[in-house]
Amino acid sequence: MRELLEILEHNSRVSVSELASMLQKSEYEIEKEISRLEREKIILSYGALINWERFGDDTVTAVIEINLTPQREVGFDAIAERIYRFDEVRTVYLMSGNFDLLVIIEGKSLKDVANFVATRLSTIEGVTQTRSHFMLKAYKKDGVIVDDEEQDRRLVVSP
């Protein structure tokens, strides 16, 4: 049910009864469908998108480009797994182009992240090169504008 997913993707707090009304199904049907989507790992998680900087945390985010030597049988998958299992690693994509993996890492400090790259990532067998880019500012995350100044400017009542 594509529409259910579209709604939840933007707001996972919409209640089952609201979903039932909007999709013209019973609450039972909605619950059953959501369980199925969770079971089949189509819905992966229900996190909130948080502006930690505004909350007061100073985290450091780095985008790392990694070049790999692919391995027989498994290609890049085995090395990717060794990398994505680390908690520090937020995102891992296999890319076309000049490098193979794009890895996003979060750490408490520059030193923290640099240390992780030097001691854990670069030392993995098959990793031939890493290039780290530290993130300076997030303007938009996962489709959400971080500091959106737009607001409802409509008159409260109009014909």
Partner: protein, 387 residues
Amino acid sequence: MNWSEKLSNSVQSIAPSGIRKFFDIAAQMQDVISLGVGEPDFVTPWTIRESCVYGLERGYTSYTANRGMPELRAEIANHFKRRHNLTYDSNKEILVTVGVSEAMDLAIRAVINAGDEVLIPEPCYVSYQACTVLAGGVPVSVPAKIENEFRITPEELEPYVTPKTKVLLIGYPNNPTGAIMERGDLLKIADFAEKHDLIVISDEIYGDLTYNGVHECFAALPNMRDRTILLNGFSKAYAMTGWRIGYALSNADFIGAMTKIHQYTMLCAPITAQVAAIEALKRGEKYMKKMVAEYDRRRKLIYDGFKQMGMDSFEPRGAFYIFPNIESSGLTAEEFAEKLIMAEHVALVPGTAFGKSGAGHVRCSYATSIEKISEALNRIEHFLTKR
């Protein structure tokens, strides 16, 4: 000196809008949830805004042709060819206006002589009667019935026809009721218009906001193209209310006459809005469809909500309004709206603001977020159970 005595008779005869009072109350409240807003809660899609900014940077700041920029008229003609298989000559049969509001005024002024009568099904948008009066015409209100889901039929119109009847003015999908007319309903109206040789002014500003089906364009019905002055615009479908941009389509004589008034009063629609409107027609459709899908979800949510609290409403199929019957509360529409905003800080508009036949109903706009709709429904339910 009593200056008001010097005002023209026609202006004096127009009643001020019934919405004002609720606006004043709501504007002073902090936590008000408004279901009283007659415009989208979305901001104009960025690609449209960006094209306007780019246009300004390149110096698009001049007058345009009275009828509107040729490129915009061509896009409008393409749009109607594609969507409704209707052909309009972009040089003679299309006029770009400052919103449908201006187009409505021009259409009425172009065809009405003093004393001519205009049939206006009610409830309807607030400007129809006023524009008619200002043009020297006589508005003849024809009540649409809830039993009929606020559609209008020839049988209902027939008793109001006189030798002076010249125009039938319809607005579907309807503000405030959310009613639509299906093809079969409109075909009967088309026969009626032909039988009495009436000009039909069709305000289809909410046309793209039609749910569970497609919008039927009145001018696309057999033999109706030349008889119809078709009004539409960008305000509702593309969330562009503040840009003030609309258009009128009809035969070359009507559009020519309207253009004459337009050139002496408005000269042209703002070029900034015209540039944006071109982008809306070229690349705006996917954003429009996303917004329509969102309105549709909210429509179902609010319709279910009213049903569950036992408030009667037919299922609205267009625009972004629902028009529940509130007579079971024992209150008039005015009282209901006033007591509700005072007690629960929910703003809506009494049906009577849109004509006498709106009595016993309130207009609720669902052009607001799901969270707010749910909260407003809770407050309304609280209001009803407390009474």
